[in-house]
Amino acid sequence: MTFWTYRRRDNLVGYLFVAPALLGSLAFVLIPLALVGWYSLNEWNVLGGTFEFIGGENYKQLLADEKLRESLVATAWFAAGLVVLNLSLALLLAVLLNQKLRGTTLFRTLFFSPVLVSLVAWTLVWQLMLQPEGSVNGLLGFFGVHGPNWLRGDTTAMVSVIVVQVVKNVGLNMVLFLAALQGVPAPLYEAAKIDGAGAWTRFRRITIPLISPTILLTSIITIVGSLQVFAQIAVLTQGGPGTSTTVLIYYLYQQAFQFHHFGYGATISVLLFVIVAALTLLQWRMRRKWVLHES
């Protein structure tokens, strides 16, 4: 009996094939993930060079942190606003652009192009446009509306950040919806029409159920993405005015990289991880209810 049986050799070859990907995710995903967990149990004074085990102290602080609560509220508003606006707009655009009309290709390209633009460049241009004397208010003035100072008002700042993000990324969801819409068999619509179903009923009873897997997918992507929005906040509002746009990840950045509380920052990122994981799990569980094909 030799050591290198066929089976073992096959396994080795298999392991070697997955090794690059595995090592990559080990070095850049799993180890950092474990380190964050470890850091969250320590008080790390970067300047003083001390690293001290403090057990659950950071987690106690997490529970008592009022600013964290404000930040969670801001995050919830942001995520809710983003998901609702992004998905409904993406679906609307997809339905409109799914018509067999002249020029739809042009519009599809137009709505998708922001996805390809560099995020920071995109945000900087919006920052200029949202100035009190910027082009957004110029346009509003054209219609006789006196626009607010968008980035300096509590509500308008949040709305601005959401809209900037939606316009940037709506094209991606739009394309996914378009693909799904084109996968809906035309005979179903024809049959429904013969049965006397109106446009809304057809949309509600045929389109929605049949594209439900895509709705699930886009909502997961969008919610998870909304929890990771950083550059827009950093460029547009820096968390302000007040703390109205200090979403969780921006608060995490402030604590770790600006206030040098690396241990506490790691604790917040554990929280963020848990929230993202829980939301994804929840949506995945609920797919049986939402998604037509699964039961």
């Binding site: 970067v46 300047l47 100035q131 300096r152 550059a231 950093a234």
Partner: protein, 401 residues
Amino acid sequence: MSRLPALIVAVLLALTACGGSSAQSGPKSLRMTVWTANEAHLKLLNEIATEYKASHPDVTEIKFDSIPADGYTTTLTTQIAGGNAPDLAWILEESAPDFVSSGALAPIRSKIEKADELTPSGIKLWEKDGELYAYPFSTSPFGLFVNTSLVKDVPAKWTWEQAMAAAAASGKGLVLPDFKYQNWAVLSAIWRGWDANAWSEDGRSCGFASREMKDAMSFIHKAIFTDKAIPGPGTTVDFFAGNAAMAVSQISRAGALKDAKFTWTLVPLPTGPKGDYAVIGQAGVGVMKRSKNAEAAADFLGFFTNEANSAKLAQFFPSVRSSLLNAQTLAKSNPLIRPEQLQSVVVEGISKGVVKPSHQGQEELNQTIRAALDPLWKADANVSAVLDDVCVKIKPLLERK
């Protein structure tokens, strides 16, 4: 985001960071983080480094690592966290208390040539228990730059009331270039004229709710929203491009006016109700205690800041050496500014100036105060209530040890 790549690099470095701070023998390579990328600045720095290397063959490389000023401290601390600390680092005045008190810096007094001639007000921020932890290589007073193409009649000394009136009358206004309704500490260049302070001398009690601060902030609020003398929040107006009548800025910014298409002058800060005053911004350079080459780095710092090199550096960065603090010396290297302006703004500014507010845990204070002051930047703000709230918000931070 310029700091993002640095963050990623630092995180990767954190994974591979190796400890060990034992002194290194043999050829040494030094790295100094700076926030200037100005060619003339870097040329001078490299000249000084080349001269040092010539007499110290064991030091093979001295590298000046430019990090953008925006987010400088964040990037620096991330490098330190990632085990990739520089050997020497420029430090902003606002981070001075954090760096000096944390023990991150090596003591350097013994390495500094003629340390006794450094003006006491200039090194106060960088000292702890009689030891010096960073050398204040740049001490730059705030002054009032005036665009004389827009404002013809500039007295040698304005009061703040007069200056704001002139700014409003010009139709172009007065700007504080670094303020942006975020960096509130810049406002100290105005509120010191009211004798207002962000916090007490010992840093333990809040000054925002004081009578002086409320008067000063009411004045600023009125200048913005009633008199329209200061451009409101959200607008960007560039004095150096000729779009504003006046700018409250540090004299180290004069270089930006080299190719100005308008005529300008520099006068000391106007007087406030409490009379004459000066405010300075500072930058220090320190040696990282944990550097493997801390000894060599401190030695280089001594050379970098000796009398001869201080004189060279003074053309960009005003020195706190009393021997260099006179209009004649400064005039040689500041052709853009007239000697009498140098005397009134720089020499007097440095000797009597108060450094911009700084405190341990500055960045957290910065953000907390910034957020608490945001409601002030509205036309209908209740100045007194907002300032009372600032104190409520920062009290726990000031009292923290």
